[in-house]
Symmetry: C2
Subunit: 202 residues, 2 copies
């Protein structure tokens, strides 16, 4: 392992904290940034800090926004009594890209994971319940779009239990074969879920 | 392509300027940095700016250093009348990793490339000549370790011509088959060069 000058080592260490970046890639980034004119590197850093400063989370749904309320919560056309509950903003954005959903969202900021010390107080279940109870419009359906992992399923179950004495419909995204995939290569769990969720064609 | 909030778009644009980073990776980095506590992101940026501020280039050889002179030029054991000419600091570091070279270096900061407007004035040939003519010790050998590309070969030829009326030995790194490689998969140019550079075994 090459030893660099201390300030360069420190740059490499910081850049190596980016997701999926190892020491070699971090060194490549560090050399690139060192070769930039000083004002370009200052602009680079200023943009990152400015982004962090200006991007807030929506006070209703925790989506990213610039003011207090995100564009989805502020859009009167999206108010239709549906809330789609997601783990993070990336999932929200994936749902938006699909274009198939016209209701509102609620970003939990994680999923229940007792082993990692993440209980109901570490994710924003309280905010979701508050919106359902005290929101301006009645909620008819909560679509739980947490990931199909142990943590995501646990979270879905927890939310379902919290809402069991209401007349709100709680639904979950269908699990099954991805469109375009080959049945031969589907894993057993997915095949089982696809069979359980089979739908009538007539 | 997902459209993000403007400050997030600007973060993604800056991160996408890192070498080999596309939009998706840049977005992954941006989300990671957004999720950091503000003080961690400030530390991240401070380390990059501090590195840029503290790392200078050696006034003799252009290697990276923290003062005016790099550790190699300041090491009296390295003063042996040999200068290894490289295109960039990364090549210098690769040479140092090999451990096989005990002389000094000169970092040109590029290679001659008329098509890109890089002539002898855009790389530090003048500094090299100055060291050879006015340096404290006589130079016996200049090892031209520019890359085996058109630009690198042109640069090697140019330096050889500049030194043709001196009694300095000008050498070039051997081109040939990489150690451990299979001859079957070597390209024609490398094979030809390896044949031309064949060495007697007896």
């Amino acid at each position: 392992m090459t030893e660099y000058l201390l300030p360069l080592e420190q740059m490499i260490e910081q850049l190596g904290s980016l997701p999926g970046v190892g020491r070699k890639t971090a060194a490549k980034y560090a050399f690139h940034l060192l070769e930039l004119p000083a004002e370009d590197l200052e602009q680079f850093c200023a943009t990152l800090l400015e982004g962090k400063r200006r991007i807030k989370t929506c006070k209703f749904c925790n989506n990213l926004c610039q003011g207090e309320v995100c564009t989805i919560c502020a859009d009167p056309k999206r108010v239709n009594g549906q809330i789609c509950v997601v783990e993070d903003v990336k999932t929200l954005m994936a749902m938006e890209r699909s274009g198939g959903y016209k209701g509102e969202y609620h970003v939990l900021g994680g999923a229940l994971s007792p082993i990692d010390g993440i209980g109901p107080d570490q994710i924003d279940v309280a905010g979701l319940m508050n919106r359902i109870k005290n929101g301006p419009q009645p909620i008819k359906e909560v679509i739980v779009a947490t990931n199909p992992t142990v943590e995501g399923e646990t979270t879905a179950l927890y939310i379902t239990r919290l809402l069991k004495d209401t007349d709100i419909l709680v639904t979950r995204l269908a699990c099954g074969i991805p469109v375009g995939a080959d049945l031969e290569y589907a894993d057993e769990v997915t095949l089982t879920r696809a069979l359980e969720g089979r739908q009538s064609l007539n």
